[in-house]
């Protein structure tokens, strides 16, 4: 029998970002035997994938894998999770960092049983950011049904109002704490993994595609929420202006991506995402017509290629090679997509009930530079310097990726972090 039950060396790892990338790095390192602190700025873990209805190409729900990951956290005392937490500063060198973390108030403490009495009492409704503003939620809310930690949040908007008081009075467990203040935590860690993820590119910046001007032009991430059982429509895909079941939908690929004026790079996931979303619509509406305007269909690899082939078999899905020049309003709240077929040269005006912009991904760090000594590409992606070590970027903070590759990459980054802690 071996006597040594611990990992070969000690030290702790700070993982910044609780999306699928950060979760993966944190869990993989902790299951080797290392102490990990996982910091997430939102009130729940799961990040972008928590907002997705299904993963491509398996069409399986992301909450399935998240549930396993949350259970792994529950069963592993080596992981400490901080939500509503933002890293303010990381200083030091590989093996010896000091991190300053600000924890913003949830206004709900650990006594919360998730009973929902606060939400029932609350009268104010606030914009539901989880659903990209497509509906509203109570000022006291659970971000989504599978939220982990399963604890309510009180919107700062109702703090100091009568509604705040109502929530506090409704909670018989003393969990609502309206005078909760932000606090700062200092941590000593040996390695830092930045898994700060991505944001959908702001589609209002793409003038010619009409987003924000016409209600029936939505982004691909909004489509995920529309199709999700926990979304604003309970999973029914309806066009925003009048809740009509769409008879025709156009997908505009590379909305912002591969475009010098917006994102010069390819966002990696949008082709597969649109093919997947086409299946959402087709599953709900047997007669709906779908038009996909693309430059190249990037569905590489046996799995994605197979999926593309299957989607192609659907006679109601039309693929048009051509970059969309304009999206404008048409009669009856419809939308017209104007493009040129790159092969035939033919000008196309396709009027549809609804348009989905396949908007790309931008690293979160591009809009909020990270408070540490990191190399950053002109697009805001963090560049890994393995010779220097100590701090690493994982997942989409590092480059545009799909979930599978993100998880591979993030598993590898757990090892890079561990290497930093190993005294050779």
């Amino acid at each position: 029998m071996t006597a040594d039950k611990s990992a070969p060396v000690s030290g702790s790892i700070l993982v910044v970002g609780g999306g699928i990338s950060g979760l993966t790095t944190a869990l993989e390192a902790a299951e080797v035997g290392y102490e990990v602190v996982l910091v997430e700025k939102k009130p729940y873990l799961g990040g972008r994938v928590a907002q997705l209805n299904q993963y491509f190409p398996k069409l399986c729900p992301p909450s399935c894998g998240l549930e396993i990951n949350f259970r792994r956290i529950k069963d592993n005392p080596r992981i400490k999770v901080l939500t509503l937490a933002e890293v303010e500063k990381v200083e030091g060198a590989a093996g010896d960092y000091e991190a300053t973390i600000r924890i913003n108030p949830r206004y709900v403490n650990e006594k919360c049983t998730c009973c929902g009495a606060c939400a029932a009492a609350c009268q104010t409704e606030v914009v539901n950011e989880f659903n990209f503003g497509m509906n509203r939620t109570k000022g006291a809310y659970l971000p989504h049904p599978m939220a982990f930690p399963a604890r309510y949040v009180i919107s700062p908007q109702i703090v100091g109002t009568e509604d705040g008081q109502r929530c506090q009075e409704a909670c018989v467990y003393g969990a609502v704490e309206l005078d909760m203040q932000p606090r700062t935590v200092n941590l000593k860690v040996g390695a830092v993994v930045w898994a700060t993820g991505w944001e959908p590119y702001d589609a209002t910046k793409i003038d010619n595609l009409g987003f924000g001007r016409y209600p029936n032009i939505i982004t691909n991430m909004m489509m995920e929420r529309l199709a999700a059982p926990s979304g604003p429509t309970g999973g029914k895909i309806l066009r925003p202006s009048d809740d009509k079941a769409p008879a025709s939908v156009a997908f505009v690929q590379c909305a912002g991506s591969r475009d010098e004026n917006h994102l010069p790079y390819c966002s990696y996931i949008c082709c597969m995402a649109s093919l997947k979303q086409a299946t959402y619509i087709r599953a709900q509406y047997p007669d709906a017509k779908i038009y996909i305007f693309y430059i190249d269909l990037r569905t590489p690899g046996y799995r994605y290629e197979k999926f593309y082939k299957k989607v192609k078999e659907d006679k109601n899905i039309f693929f048009i090679k051509g970059k969309v020049a304009e999206v404008s309003e048409a009669a009856d709240q419809g939308v017209t997509v104007t493009a040129e077929n790159a092969v035939t040269g033919e000008k196309i005006h396709q009027t549809v009930d609804m348009v989905v912009l396949a908007t790309g991904m931008q690293p979160t760090a591009v809009n909020a530079p990270l408070p540490a000594d990191l190399k950053v590409s002109p697009d805001g992606f963090l560049i890994n310097d393995f010779d220097k070590g100590g701090m690493f970027a994982a997942g989409c903070a590092n480059k545009p990726l799909d979930v599978v590759s993100t998880n591979q990459n993030s598993t590898g980054m757990a090892l890079k972090a561990i290497q930093t802690l190993v005294k050779r």
């Binding site: 080797v32 399986c60 591979q408 561990i418 050779r424």
Partner: protein, 778 residues
């Protein structure tokens, strides 16, 4: 463990308002469990109350009647105690609103013939909880007698070297086994490598030489050239590996299982065990059986499979329209790379400078796919090779015909930089034909961006063919496992050794063996090297988990493992055959030999065993069976119209959370079902179903994950195996004169909580239509 029981009932979150808590406490009394209630059990006072009992009364085995076990997991964890969570909140009061299931009125109570379905449900869950804690024990870890922390890396190419270096840097000893006489693999034949960093424009000198030097300089790495695996026997943490020279025949070459056609007689009937054994011996003559370990074998803790790929070569006539095989100047990209590595690009036919080169990405003939096994790699390789043409000849011209230029992510910059080169022409298009034209070639293409039909003269044509994973030809790992030497189900993945899971890309059906690089997907060097780090991490993690005596993913940290009561084994081999992870090897008689470190604790063996001799410390035939038997089944003796009782065995990974969500959302479903979470539907033993029916329950359903090629089962085969067993149970039911419709299996995904009420209520309705179980009351 001397069990001291206790029950704690929370009356918060609507439990006390909905239920008669005194009556619940009385249920505890029936079994002699001391009981306490608290209005806020998960709060500091409630927890202190339990801790006080633990400290003062020595309570160590308890039922907590409160919320779901999915929440407050840390609050109700007490070291050294057995804790069962009776889910009175999500699955009783939240999903059975008093608006839908009203409390009894005074008159109804007075009548004596009315019953409160919700109260009955809660009471049953407490009874079931008590029954379970009586039957389970605290797990003790399975520890190996000796543990090896060494990692075996199969393949000395870029992926294998990267994995070895990464593991070594984390402090682990590594042996690289490479079949050829040199490290480096395919990368040795490359002129240049793709860019890996901003601005993604210039090609890089191959990294392979530096990588080889690093490997050679690393004292923790041993390199074994001209070596391959004859067999890997044993289990993670303690693999016994026999290595050999390629081509050698040795007695420790791994034996192969009999192919299906040899397992049957002329009539197609399965042969008897003795004949099978004789045939197996004959089939594997000269090879020692898997249960004999090589005394000279080397010990390893885990394996990284990085054996890579071979270039896809079209068979004769397969690409006749491109002249491959007939026209010597039509080559594959791998052949072209070798030519480019040797110096200026010259065409094979006559050594003339190849200044006009056409690259073809797709096989054409109406298909817009790239060649097989290409991924995004071949788009990038063609761009790289087009640059070679331009490097070698200032007047050189490269043409790329593609259907979809696959330069995902930041590699788009590389593509863009080539678009600026006036000597490189790229167009979407379908190449129709390549033919000889005098001293050169002509490439004809349709539907291009430059015109409907075009023809290009070329000195050479390069077919951007793919990278075939070597697992297509050979299992490589040569596992001395009864289920066979290779990874299972690679056919789902086109022969790659890939994971089925998007969330868990390193999970395969062979614990402790992690694939990396092009053996599991077409990847660039950069991607492969990154993948290697992940596989190395998983190998290390597996070793450390085995060292702690706990399971790896998905039941990470689980200390239980299957225990066998061999005296009653009838050598039916079902457990060995059905284990999704090949954890069991049977001997000549068919008695299983467990390898607990290979096991992932799903319980499929337990579900398979007709003799019911397999179980876990906290999860076994008796623990679930006792829960089933603890359900009170009212009969006509109790009420004039007794309620139905239906058992639901639900997958704890997906179905159980979905039911919790239904509760959270306030969705109501029948109060006549009794749900028991199971580790996986694969662990469901049909005896539980028979138990339920024979004690008068009216129906049984299984609720689990989707199966098929895109299975969502975390244990690969569980829900599929359950569905096979359910089909077979029909006969047993018929022999009891029960309708087969009383037993059913349904699929549900975790996010389909909105479907929970319909699935359950429809099944209840269908059973009610059949009428009560005739055994009720006997």
């Amino acid at each position: 463990m001397d069990k001291k029981y206790g029950m704690y009932i929370c009356t918060g979150c609507g439990i006390g308002a909905s239920l008669d808590v005194d009556a619940l406490c009385a249920v505890a009394g029936e079994e002699g469990f001391p009981v306490q209630q608290h209005p806020f059990l998960c709060g500091p006072e409630g927890v202190a109350m339990i801790k006080k009992d633990i400290a003062e009364k020595g309570i160590n085995t308890m039922v907590i009647g409160a919320c779901s076990r999915r929440v407050n997991f840390d609050i109700f964890r007490f070291d050294g105690c057995i804790v069962e969570r009776a889910n009175l909140r999500e699955q009783v009061v939240w999903s059975h609103s008093r608006d839908v299931f009203p409390k009894l009125t005074e008159e109804e109570i007075a009548s004596g013939d009315a019953f409160d379905r919700v109260q009955m449900l809660a009471e049953d869950y407490l009874r079931m909880g008590m029954a379970r804690v009586k039957k389970v024990s605290l797990p003790e870890p399975y520890l190996l007698e000796s543990l090896s922390r060494r990692i075996l890396v199969l393949g000395g190419g870029m992926t294998g070297m990267a994995a070895a270096l990464d593991a070594a840097k984390a402090g682990y000893e590594v042996t690289i086994v490479e079949k050829t006489g040199a490290l480096g693999g395919h990368a040795n034949h490359w002129r240049q490598q793709l860019p890996t960093a901003t601005p993604y424009e210039d090609l890089l000198p191959p990294r392979v030489e530096r990588m080889i030097q690093s490997v050679q300089a690393e004292p923790k790495i041993t390199v074994r050239l001209e070596t391959m695996v004859a067999r890997i026997a044993g289990e993670p943490g303690n693999f016994t590996v026999t290595l050999k020279k390629p081509g050698e025949k040795i007695e420790f070459d791994v034996p192969f299982p009999l192919p299906p056609e040899m397992r049957v007689n002329e009539k197609g009937e399965e042969l008897d065990a003795e004949t099978l054994q004789a045939r197996y011996k004959e089939y594997n003559e000269g090879r020692i059986d898997i249960l004999t370990f090589d005394p000279d074998g080397e010990k390893f803790g885990a394996v990284v499979l990085a054996a890579g790929w071979r270039p896809w070569i079209p068979e004769a006539g397969q690409l006749a329209h491109y002249g491959f095989g007939d026209l010597p100047d039509v080559v594959t990209n791998a052949q072209f790379e070798k030519i480019a590595k040797e110096g200026k690009i010259k065409r094979p036919s006559d050594g003339k400078e190849a200044k006009r080169v056409v690259f073809i990405q797709s096989p054409g003939q109406g298909d817009d796919s790239d060649f097989a096994y290409t991924g995004a790699v071949t788009s990038l390789v063609s761009l790289k090779q087009a640059k070679y043409v331009r490097e070698d000849y200032t007047d050189g011209k490269a043409y790329i015909f593609y259907q979809h230029m696959r330069t995902s992510g930041q590699m788009e910059y590389f593509y863009k930089s080539l678009q600026q080169d006036p000597g490189i022409f790229m167009t979407k298009g379908e190449v129709v034909q390549v033919r000889q034209n005098g001293n050169g070639l002509v490439v004809e293409a349709d539907n291009t961006l430059l015109g409907e039909k075009i023809a290009v003269n070329a000195d050479m044509v390069v077919l951007a063919t793919g990278m075939v994973p070597v697992t297509v030809d050979d299992p490589v790992v040569n596992l001395a496992y009864r289920q066979g030497p290779g990874f299972r189900d690679n056919d789902i993945y086109d022969g790659y050794c890939d994971s089925n899971f998007i969330c868990f890309p390193y999970e395969t059906q062979r614990t402790g063996i992690y694939a990396a690089g092009a053996i599991r997907r077409a990847m660039t060097v950069e991607e492969s090297v990154e993948d290697a780090a992940g596989a190395a991490l998983k190998a290390i993690q597996c070793i450390e988990s085995v060292n702690r005596g706990v399971s790896v993913h998905p039941r990470s940290g689980d200390m239980t493992f299957p225990d066998f009561f061999f005296q009653r084994c009838t050598q039916c081999k079902r457990c060995t055959q059905e284990c999704p992870f090949g954890a069991l090897d049977d001997d000549a008689k068919g008695t299983p030999k467990p390898n607990p470190a290979r096991c992932r604790r799903c319980g499929t063996c337990m579900g398979a065993c007709p003799e019911r001799i397999i179980g876990f410390a906290d999860y076994n035939i008796d623990s679930i069976g006792s829960q089933v038997k603890a359900v009170k089944v009212p009969s006509a003796d109790d009420y004039s119209e007794p309620p139905f009782r239906i058992l639901g065995l639900v997958c704890e990974n997906d179905a159980y959370p979905a039911i919790d969500m239904a509760g959270l959302k306030g969705l109501n479903f029948s109060a006549d079902v009794r749900l028991i979470p199971v580790r996986c539907l694969g662990s469901v033993n049909v005896i539980w179903i028979k138990d339920a029916l024979s004690q008068g329950m009216d129906g049984v359903f299984l609720l689990g994950c989707k199966h098929g090629d895109d299975y969502q089962c975390h244990f690969v085969k569980g829900s599929e195996l359950a569905s096979i067993r359910m089909k077979k149970i029909g006969e047993a039911l018929a022999s009891l004169a029960l309708e087969t419709e009383r037993v059913a299996q349904f699929e549900i995904a975790i996010d389909e909580y909105d479907k929970v009420p319909r699935i359950i209520d429809d099944f209840v309705a269908s059973v009610e239509e059949l009428g009560p179980n005739p055994f009720k009351g006997f």
